[in-house]
C-alpha cells in the first residue's frame, strides 16, 4: 500500500480523501466544518476522527492540501484599457485560482484608491501598456499605490519599458513587489502563464501564513495551491493525459459551490463553422470563470433574483412553497445539508439554474452582422459546441440522485443558437469528490491521478 491523504480547506468544509496510490483506489472520504477563525487544526482533527480508525494514524506517503479558507485568494487587478490589459490581468488572476474582488482600469482616482485599500486584497496585480506602449498610466498608478496604505504584495506585469521604474517607485515606498513578464505584451496577445506561476509562488510563500494556515501546513507537508487551481489542474490532466494515458481532449468542468459557481474549460474554442471571424482578446487554452453571484448557500437568494421563481420551479419536481423565505434561510445557515426530499429537490433546482447561468457566461457567443456583401458571423469567446466531455463537481454532485440532469440543463439549445454551449458531450459527475485530490496529485503521481479520475467519474449517458 502506498497511501496519500489529500485535504481541502474549503470556505465551509474541510474535506479529506484517503487514497491508495498503488491500487489506485479511494479508501475513504470525511468532512467537517472549517475552523479557520479559531484554529484551523480543530476542524482538520474532527475530520480526521471521522476516517475509519486504521486510516487515522496510517503512514501516509504524502499529505497534500489545497485551500480556499479565510476568503480564498482575494486579488485586485489593475490595467489600462478595460477590454485589453485590464481584462488580460483579470483572466490571468482567475486562472491562478484567485477570487478577483475588483478590476480597475485607467489612472486610479482618489475614490478608487481608497476603495482598493479598504478591500484588503491578498495580492495586487498591476498591469497596463503593451511592451513599448503606454508608460504613463502604469507609472502614475505605481506612484499612487506607493503613497497609499496598501500592504499586500504587488505583482507587476505591465509594459516592460516601464516595469523596472514601477518596481523602484513601489520598493522605495517599502511595498513588497514582484516583477514578471507583461500579461499582454502586444494588443490581443495574452501571456498569462508567468503571472499564474508567480501568483502560485506568492500563495505558497506568503498567503498561507497570513491566512492562519501555517499550523496546518506543518501537519500536511504542503498547502500547494488554492482549491480552484487544484480543480483546474485536474481538468488539464484529464484533457491532456500523461505519457502512457491518452487524454480526453477538450472538456469543461462545472464546479458548483456554496458561494460561487466556477466553470473551467480546456480547449482552444476555435470556430466550428466555416467563415466565422473571431474577435476580441484571445482566450487562454485553460480558462476559468467564477460566478460570484451563483452559489447554493451564500447566494441562494441571488439565484432567485437572477433567474426568477418560475425558472427555479420549472426544475423542481416536488411542490416547493415559501421559496423566498426558505432561500433566505439557506443563505444564512450555509452549513446545512439537505434533510428532506423537498430540500434535495430545491438544491437540484437551484444548482440547475446556477450551472446554466454560469455556462452561458463562460461559453462564447456568435453575432450575425449584415454588411454590403451579405451576412457575416463574428465569434466572441470560446466555441464549446464541439466539446466532448462535461464534468460536474461540488457537493450536489455527490449527494443528488439525478445529478446528471444538472449538467443536461447547461447544454446548447436551438432556441438560443448564438450561445456556444456544449451540444452533445459525454456527461460525468465527480461522485466521489476526487477532482481536487487528482489536481493535488497531478504533478507527483500523474499516472495514478489520471486513472483515479477516470475510474471514479460517474458517466451519465
Amino acid at each position: 500500500m502506498s497511501l496519500a491523504l489529500l485535504i481541502d480547506f474549503g470556505s465551509t468544509f474541510t474535506k479529506l480523501l484517503a487514497v491508495d496510490l498503488a491500487a489506485e483506489e479511494i479508501l475513504a472520504y470525511a468532512q467537517s466544518c472549517t475552523t479557520v477563525e479559531t484554529d484551523i487544526m480543530v476542524g482538520l482533527r474532527r475530520a480526521l476522527d471521522l476516517l475509519p480508525p486504521h486510516l487515522q494514524g496510517a503512514p501516509y506517503e504524502c499529505r497534500l492540501s489545497s485551500s480556499s479558507a479565510a476568503g480564498g485568494l482575494g486579488m485586485i487587478t489593475i490595467g489600462l484599457i478595460p477590454e485589453l490589459s485590464a481584462e488580460a490581468a483579470r483572466r490571468a488572476a482567475l486562472g491562478a485560482g484567485a477570487k478577483v474582488v475588483k478590476v480597475y482600469s485607467f489612472r486610479l482616482s482618489t475614490r478608487e484608491l481608497e476603495e482598493l485599500v479598504g478591500l484588503k486584497p491578498d495580492i495586487l496585480l498591476l498591469a497596463g501598456g503593451t511592451d513599448g506602449g503606454n508608460r504613463e498610466v502604469i507609472l502614475d498608478n505605481a506612484r499612487l499605490l506607493a503613497a497609499s496604505r496598501i500592504s499586500c504584495p504587488v505583482l507587476i506585469a505591465g509594459n516592460k519599458a516601464a516595469a523596472d521604474e514601477v518596481q523602484s517607485i513601489l520598493s522605495a515606498a517599502g511595498k513588497i513587489t514582484l516583477l514578471t513578464d507583461n500579461v499582454m505584451p502586444e494588443v490581443n496577445v495574452l501571456n498569462v502563464e508567468p503571472v499564474r506561476e508567480m501568483i502560485r509562488k506568492i500563495f505558497i510563500e506568503r498567503i498561507i501564513e497570513s491566512k492562519g494556515l501555517k499550523k496546518a501546513e506543518e501537519f500536511v507537508g504542503g498547502i500547494l495551491m488554492p482549491t480552484p487551481t487544484a480543480v483546474l489542474r485536474a481538468a488539464q490532466l484529464l484533457s491532456q493525459g500523461t505519457g502512457s494515458e491518452k487524454g480526453l481532449g477538450d472538456l469543461v468542468i462545472v464546479d458548483i459551490g456554496g458561494a460561487t459557481t466556477d466553470v473551467h474549460s480546456i480547449g482552444a474554442g476555435n470556430p466550428v463553422q466555416p467563415g466565422v471571424v473571431r474577435k476580441g482578446l484571445p482566450e487562454p487554452l485553460t480558462k476559468r470563470t467564477v460566478e460570484a453571484d451563483l452559489g447554493l448557500r451564500y447566494n441562494a437568494g441571488t439565484i432567485l433574483k437572477l433567474c426568477g421563481e418560475g425558472r427555479i420551479l420549472q426544475h423542481a419536481s416536488l411542490f416547493q412553497k415559501d421559496l423566498a423565505p426558505r432561500l433566505e434561510k439557506l443563505s444564512q445557515c450555509v452549513e446545512v445539508l439537505p434533510q428532506t426530499a423537498e430540500d434535495q429537490d430545491l438544491d437540484f433546482a437551484l444548482a440547475t439554474c446556477a450551472a446554466r447561468a454560469a455556462m452561458e457566461r463562460h461559453a462564447g457567443s456568435i453575432e450575425a452582422l449584415w454588411g454590403p456583401q451579405g451576412q457575416y458571423y463574428v465569434q466572441y469567446g470560446k466555441d464549446l459546441t464541439g466539446v466532448e466531455h462535461l464534468i460536474g463537481t461540488g457537493g450536489i454532485f455527490i449527494h443528488h440522485r439525478q445529478a446528471g440532469g444538472i449538467l443536461r440543463g447547461t447544454l446548447f439549445s436551438p432556441e438560443e443558437p448564438f450561445s456556444l454551449r456544449p451540444k452533445t458531450p459525454n456527461l460525468y459527475t465527480d461522485a466521489r469528490y476526487c477532482l481536487f485530490a487528482v489536481g493535488l496529485l497531478a504533478d507527483r503521481y500523474p499516472e495514478s491521478a489520471f486513472r483515479i479520475a477516470r475510474k471514479y467519474l460517474r458517466r451519465w449517458n
Binding site: R135, E186, Y376
Partner: protein, 141 residues
C-alpha cells in the same frame, strides 16, 4: 529603413462590417518592412477597437481601411471619439473604397478631412505613397 520609423507605432485595421483582408495584410507588410511597429487589429474592427489599441500601445497614428463603400457612415465621429478617449491629437489616416458610385475624389477627400482625418486616400493608392506621407507627417523623435 531608418531609425526615425523604428520608434513609430501605427494601429492598422479594417473598419466596420468589412471582410476585406488582402489589402490589410499588404499594408501591414509594407509598413513593417519600412520599420514601423504595426499593431494590426484586422477586419471587423470598430472605432473603439482602433482607439483602445492606440491607447494601450501609445500609438503615433491610426490607419483606417474601409473597402465596403460605407466609409463615410462608419468613419463619422472618429476624431470626436479620439478626443473623448484622451488621444485627440493622434494622426488619423483613412483609405480604401470610401464611397460608392462615381464621385469626384477632391470632394470626397474634403469631406473626410473635415471629419478630422489628417489624410484620406483614393482607391488604388500605393502603400509607398502612404508610407512616404507618414514619414513626413509624424514628428521625428
Amino acid at each position: 529603413m531608418g531609425d526615425h520609423q523604428k520608434s513609430k507605432t501605427v494601429v492598422l485595421g479594417v473598419l466596420g462590417v468589412d471582410a476585406h483582408v488582402v489589402g490589410n495584410k499588404i499594408m501591414a507588410h509594407a509598413l513593417e518592412s519600412e520599420g514601423f511597429k504595426v499593431v494590426n487589429i484586422g477586419t471587423f474592427s470598430s472605432q473603439q477597437d482602433f482607439i483602445r489599441a492606440a491607447i494601450e500601445t501609445a500609438a503615433d497614428a491610426i490607419l483606417v481601411a474601409s473597402l465596403c463603400g460605407h466609409g463615410e457612415m462608419e468613419c463619422r465621429g472618429f476624431r470626436e471619439n479620439c478626443i473623448e478617449a484622451g488621444v485627440g491629437e493622434i494622426h488619423l489616416v483613412v483609405g480604401g473604397n470610401l464611397v460608392v458610385g462615381k464621385q469626384n475624389w477632391e470632394e470626397v477627400e474634403k469631406r473626410f478631412l473635415q471629419m478630422g482625418f489628417n489624410r484620406a486616400y483614393p482607391p488604388g493608392v500605393s502603400p509607398k505613397q502612404v508610407i512616404a506621407d507618414l514619414k513626413k507627417d509624424l514628428p521625428k523623435g
